[in-house]
Amino acid sequence: MAEDYLKTEEMVVNMGPNHPSTHGVARLILHLDGEVIHEIEPVIGYLHRAIEKVVENRTYAQCIPMMDRFEYVTAMMADWSFALAAERLSDIEIPERAEYLRVIMGELNRMASHLLCVGVTALDLGALTPFLYTFREREDILDLFEMTCGQRLTYNYIWVGGVAKDIPPEFTPKCREFLDKIDAKVDDYERVLTKNPIWLARNKDVGMIPEKMVYDYGVTGPSARASGINFDVRRNDPYSIYDRFDFKVPVYHGCDCYDRYMMRIQEIRQSARIVRQALENLPEGPVRAKVSRTFKPKEGEVYSRIESARGEMGVHLISDGSPKPFRVRLRGSSYSHLCAIPEICRGLKIADLVAIFASLDIILPEIDR
């Protein structure tokens, strides 16, 4: 039998924890037949910093910086989801201006995250230049954040009961300036990537996530919407003031890496739209409700979810009425995405794994916490 002669031994390759394309410290044990992946065994926990345990010993105000570290790429969203959970457990009235500022910051952060994702996807597929282009625009967003809260990455800005401080007066013109140019810049990235035949060859029909797999593995956010699932927490279960904005939720039906990339490109444009509307309607007023330093929510439990940049981010918060949370369970969307990787990648090649990993925008702190 020819097959018997040609049968080769399975090669086990350890990819990570330090590997350029695992976006941190994921470790994947690959069982390879030549270049073809038979099986992947993800090993996680290399960044398990026990945030869930740490916050049990912190007051609610002290929890917010921990949330920044839980999801540093979209730290605003992480702050927001925790603040939202704590606010649902008490009856704090959030000032109108604070809500608008949250939306502005959240959407800017979504844009920053998507820019990072698009750039890193290109980098992982071997094109270094788009990565540096997207980082160029990302720096402009980080400038806006820095202007507002003094940090580039871990903001500690969205607090329980509002936001930490008001935006400086020069924020609005700067932000408008940025919004005016971002569309043209996104066009630039598209010119480099979208129609590029090699980019198409690497991304089209690679890493299919059919609808069944979306349900099986809890794929959320842009990755689910690229598989034809028309669901966005911002629209379908509006939190904060998202029901006041006019924006489209792009949906693609290709289920592949290419559509996930397109999804992110479109979401950057839509986020710019939301920020523009929010800046237009930004009311005057206080930015923080009166919340004491030893804020005590009511006893009870709540699950708050928001649409983060890479999917649904949830905080399951249990309070026992004391100034410290009783139990916090953080749900990052990458958790489910990485769980689905072995299923998606079976029978594909190593190079595809890299593309899929990048297109799902997996980052490790969300998983390991």
Partner: protein
């Protein structure tokens, strides 16, 4: 100013010493080898710097700025640093293979320049099978990459070595076929003859104008030969960490690194010689024409590098065998018809 008379004058000087023909021959060959080697090393160092500068300016950065004027001596600093690095041989590596791989890579990269016409009469040895020799000797690189991959006893390196073997062997075929078109027209495999056949007509006798398809095939295959993006899968940083050279440190890595850039210069020089008229050109000395054309080709390859993503390994093979190879045959038939009937 032509350089050939300088060498002739020097040879005359050597003869006047009266050392006998054999000794004269040996000394002059040795000096020539040294000159070529030194020149190529300088070129490789320059290319590394140039590549970093080009990539930086493509990406709206500055690139090396601190070391020398705009970082010109950056690569020299890199080389000196690499010389000082500890030379690690993994304990489980196959020592002999591990040691010889970079040497073979280095030698193969430099040996191609024996038949390269740098300018008018500026050629080390005008072999009558020059182009065949170059294609043969550059293929040695793949052996060294395989050796590096195997000898390192590292799975990533092995995958990189295997990939490079598959890639180079596949792309060798369209490359040789596209070169064959030129040989058919010029009727000789000697590099000098090929250059001379493109003389005259103020540049319109260059092969690129008669065989644009051949030129395109050559450039694509040559990019793959030099392991450059979009065909750099043997050392795909994001997949195989560093591919075949993952275990190499210090000077051995520097040899791979320099050989890579020398290879890039080689394929560009061949393109300049057989498609762009070699050292032919008005007004300026011939070697400047040669260098200018070659650097223009290098610049093109560098722009590819910083624009395109890389292909997947199976797409790469498909492209070679299903698209490039038939196209190369079409090119040959087309040249055959025209050369026969129109009598170029």
């Amino acid at each position: 100013m032509e350089l050939a008379p300088v060498f002739a004058w020097f040879y005359g000087l050597l003869e006047s010493l009266g050392l006998g023909d054999t000794l004269n021959e040996i000394i002059s060959e040795a000096i020539l080898a040294l000159v070529v080697f030194g020149f190529l090393s300088l070129v490789a160092l320059f290319l590394v710097w140039w590549e970093r500068k080009i990539s930086a300016h493509v990406q709206q950065r500055f690139g090396p700025m601190m070391t020398g004027w705009h970082g010109v001596i950056q690569t020299i600093a890199d080389a000196v640093k690499l010389l000082q690095k500890e030379d690690i041989t993994p304990s489980l590596a196959d020592r002999g293979v591990f040691f010889w791989a970079p040497v073979i890579c280095f030698v193969a990269a430099f040996a191609a320049y024996v038949v390269m016409p740098f300018g008018k009469d500026l050629i080390v040895a005008d072999l009558n099978v020059g182009i065949l020799y170059i294609i043969a000797i550059t293929t040695f690189t793949v052996i060294s990459l395989l050796m590096a991959g195997w000898g390192s006893n590292n799975k990533y390196a092995l995958l990189g070595g295997m990939r490079s073997a598959a890639q180079v062997v596949s792309y060798e075929v369209p490359l040789a076929l596209s070169v064959l078109g030129v040989v058919m027209v010029s009727g000789s495999m000697s590099m000098n003859e090929i250059v001379k056949s493109q003389a005259g007509w103020a540049g319109f006798h260059w092969n690129i104008f008669f065989q644009p398809l051949g030129f395109v095939i050559y450039i694509i295959a040559a990019t793959a030969e030099a392991n450059r993006v979009p065909f750099d899968i043997p050392e795909a940083e994001q997949e195989l960490v560093a591919g075949f050279n993952i275990e190499y440190s210090g000077m051995k890595f520097a040899m791979f690194f320099l050989a890579e850039f020398v290879n890039m210069f080689t394929v560009s020089a061949i393109a300049a010689t057989i498609f762009l008229g070699g050292w032919n050109g008005p007004f300026l000395p011939s070697w400047i024409w040669f260098l200018g054309k070659t650097l223009a080709m290098v610049f093109l390859l560098m722009l590819f590098r910083w624009t395109y993503p890389r292909l997947r390994v199976d797409q790469l093979m498909e492209f070679a065998w299903k698209i490039l190879l038939p196209l190369a045959f079409v090119n040959i038939i087309y040249i055959g018809i025209f050369a026969k009937w129109l009598g170029w």
